[in-house]
Symmetry: C2
Subunit: 270 residues, 2 copies
């Protein structure tokens, strides 16, 4: 009995909850195949898996006045003000509150989507727009922008973007014509996931889905399973935290940090 | 009469059509104020102004099976295949066809939006997702990715992103914590507007809208009017065209071009 109890405790400690948010309506799409493989792989490893299948849910993509049934200011719609009011007063729409509940229950959030015009499909952008509430994802404790980038309402969670592209990997190489995939996704990895405090893992990119053979799909799924096997052990991207000393005025890098470097690269520690 | 005729011809030649696509439901928002100022300024300069007021139109943001009432493949939803099928066979939804008509009638397209999580509001992303059809915005003439970045269905038009941000300009400076505004918007300026052939103007950014005084708003509008006065004369961003010689294999930069430079900066000629 003692031995069994110890085993159970050990299992409980390593059992994690993963939320997979995904955006493709076709069940046989690569996106959905990735979701199926992730769910199976993570469950077999003993984890709990939650899904937000945005198309199946009929997710409301457009952030508008309907999101604020009880207004702070009925005359003028200010999204930041009304978002905070709804969050703090408990007047958020039920679908938004439920997604926040799932997010807060998760140890890891995976965003799985096809890259459309170098960003998320609109339905997933609308999931971010509506769920990332004032008072939760930004502007915590009435502190404006003082708590962000490494600290915030989603702190303690890991996040990963898993994206598929129709075009070949060469187009997303360091000198590829589209621009490097990590730079294209910086508004998401850094600006959307790290901002409210998540630890962001390296993006998992699956390229060339426009002309993928069955063997190519199988190789992509093998790579995905391998990636998921270590997803709770790998080191996150070393984005610099706002309040760790590198941004003394909370706006710009100290001149002694990454001297002479501008742009996205300066915000990742060497 | 001769004199009058000459004047009329001169007016016709300089008279342009501008399409302003915008995304904010609040009539007194900075976004809508920018739209009103642009419409008035451009009309006073003799131009025609079209608008796509996405919230007022109730624009359908989510790209899904409803966009393809007549399918090429009823078994499996492949967006690229069905988009091309609908475009070439004339089965696109009426709202999509109408937006394409307005785009093709325009000499200049202005995208006016508040920056939400470092990208477009979902309703505008869904305008791109649905309107940028296969056969028009990409994959022209059955040539796959051979015709893009500087050439394509929207060639001959100018485009400008006019974006507002709640945070201060310092956050978007070359070493600002959010990343530089031009890099954050590269997926839109380069990947979405230059891709189908538009000549993309420098982004017009209005920062600090979260705490703007009436004087600040007036200064922002003066800057906007001044910018619009020269909008048909200014040189576009010098993005490198795919077929101009810099990308011999249509995927990666030739090693002699911008030697040693990686990332977005390499795709802009010095």
């Amino acid at each position: 009995m003692t031995h069994n109890t110890a085993n159970t405790a050990s299992i409980d400690k390593t059992r994690k909850t993963v939320l997979i948010v995904h955006a493709h309506p076709e069940p046989t799409s690569l996106t959905r195949t990735m979701v199926d493989v992730a769910e199976r792989t993570l469950r077999e490893a003993g984890h709990e898996v939650l899904q937000s299948d945005l198309y199946a849910m009929g997710w409301k993509a457009v952030y508008d006045a309907q999101d604020f049934p009880v207004r702070s200011d009925i005359e003028r719609l200010d999204f930041v003000r009304e978002s905070g009011h709804a969050f703090h007063q408990g007047h958020q729409p039920a679908d938004v509150a439920e997604e926040q509940r799932k997010l807060l229950a998760a140890d890891l959030v995976i965003l799985q989507f096809p890259l459309w015009w170098f960003g998320m499909p609109a339905i997933m952008k609308g999931w971010i727009d509506r769920v990332w509430a004032q008072g939760l994802a930004y502007g915590r404790h009435g502190q404006g922008n003082r708590i962000r980038y490494g600290e915030g309402g989603f702190e303690g969670r890991r996040a990963m973007v898993s994206v598929s592209t129709g075009g070949p990997a060469a187009d997303y190489a360091p000198r590829g014509i589209n621009g490097p995939i990590d730079q294209l996704l910086f508004p998401i990895t850094h600006g959307t996931l790290f901002y409210p405090g998540m630890s962001v893992l390296k993006t998992h990119a699956t390229h060339g889905t426009g002309r993928m053979t069955p063997e190519g799909v199988e190789a992509a799924m093998a790579a995905w399973r391998e990636r998921l096997a270590h997803v709770f052990d790998e080191a996150p991207i070393a984005f610099r935290s706002q309040n760790g000393g590198d941004y003394p005025d909370h706006h710009e890098l100290d001149e002694a940090v990454a001297p002479g470097i501008t742009g996205f690269a300066a915000h990742v520690a060497a």
